[in-house]
């Protein structure tokens, strides 16, 4: 439960930073924190008590006398696979945002949103 709550807190902090900060870099950092919070949340969804990592390299993980793996001995692998994808997507969005900010700096020499008033914020 603690895991869920802390990841939700992270998400909300990131969202707050993305919505209210005035420095463009701080907004990007806020988005990054939000991504981290979500990924932590997803991983903690997959936890199973008293189970080990989903790498089947020991004979003990198999059900007795069969070729099937015992489901209760292994943590849920699907959220981990989803998080792999989500982390990479978060990195890609951050990279895109940073490139936009670099360009903005070269055009206007400022990274505060107060100086960008052409369109209403």
């Amino acid at each position: 439960m603690v895991f869920f709550l802390s990841s939700i807190v992270l998400m909300l902090i990131g969202l707050y930073a993305a919505l209210t900060k005035r420095n463009l870099i701080k907004i990007i950092i806020g988005l990054s924190i939000m991504d981290t919070g979500i990924n932590l949340f997803i991983i903690s969804l997959g936890f199973v008590k008293n189970a080990t990592a989903p790498i089947i390299s020991l004979k003990e993980l198999f059900k007795s006398n069969s070729l099937l793996v015992d489901v209760s001995k292994v943590v849920d692998p699907l959220p981990q696979a989803l998080v792999l994808t989500a982390i990479v997507i978060g990195v890609a969005v951050t990279a895109m945002a940073l490139s936009i900010v670099i360009r903005m700096y070269s055009v206007k020499k400022s990274i505060e949103t107060d100086d960008y008033k052409e369109l209403k914020w």
Partner: protein
Amino acid sequence: MVNPILIIAITLMAAFSIGIFQFLGKKFVKSVFWLTILFDLFAIFSIAYSFITEKIVEPIVVKIGGFAPPIGINLSVDAISSYLGFVIFFIGAGAAYHWMKKGIEDPQPKAYILILLILLGSIGIIFTQDFFNLFVFIEITSIAAYGLVASKLDGKALEASFKYLIVGSISSMLVLLGAVLLYKFYGSLNMADISSKIAVSHYSGAILIMITMFLFGLLIELEMFPMNGWALDVYEGANPAIIAILAGGIVKAFLLVFVRSAIYLKYPYLLKIALIFGLTTYMVSQFFAWKQKNARRLFGYSSVAQLGLLVLAGGFYASGILTSTSKTYMLLAIVFFVLNHSFSKSTLFFLSDLIEETEISGWKGVLRKNKLFKFMFSTSVFSIAGAPPFLGFWAKLFFILAIPQKYFFVVVLVLIGAIAEIVYYFR
């Protein structure tokens, strides 16, 4: 008839190979680009044609990796999906052509990659039957869109792109959370599979909240009020060819996914939400359009208003309170409306690129002189405002016919909005 997965695979292959070929010269890149677009258009057309001539009636299902759903991912193409896919690719091709013809210099080779991939992403959104796959394709479309919107490289475009990025990240966060929580509660990620499981159990409060968040994320992308500040800025700041792809194509894909998800998830409040957001967006945007002096922003507000109408129509269609004749009418209305809106708005935006006047008064002067522009402008405007015998009229007629008695106030409001539209367009 082409296997739909080939559309995705070949487009992806072409995008990757432009990455190598970009060092071999612009002509080579251009030919690869246009060949791919032609192939995609042909492929989707063949699929849509098979549906129209009723050679196939059941939707085409593609099992990726040979695994049956819900173990694997699957795509499903039916008549509406192929029709929308064709519209999107057609508009994409037209916009790319306009972009290349208008500029003094050709865009860099990398722009071709971005255009191919934004079209690929929207096709993926339409075809996929899996919630997490939907998230991945939404991200492909969005990231390509951020890059293309910022491609003009001046202050306005960059600012619009950054705002779009922030809002897009928030909306995709909601979609991702929705998908993952659906997995936790129902044990799979496949749309049809979850749909069958929802029928069995009842809707608890937590699940309702979760599905609302998911649909809200899609609504943000659909430019609904009050979350549409980003959209207006994009309409004003970006390159008009890109706006044509975004507003004429991509947004319609999101609409399809919104309606489809609401149907699959058996969301009970669909009509209420569609009414609230759709109508509010429509009325508020028409009001703002009235006050506008900047031509592009005017078109932007008008476009958002049309989207509000579309969401309203989609809500009515999917909510199951219509009789079957009205359902057909509503479907026809949506189909015609999508066609009408995509083509007319794209024409208007291409015109705005060619005319290069920002204020409305400037437009009046240019339109009086140039006969061809005047013709194109009038056709588009008449079509959007709903004058007969253009498509817009039939779309609005079918829409009004299809609404049941109880919601007559909706008809009244729509007509008021239509009158306002005519007024501000004729200015």
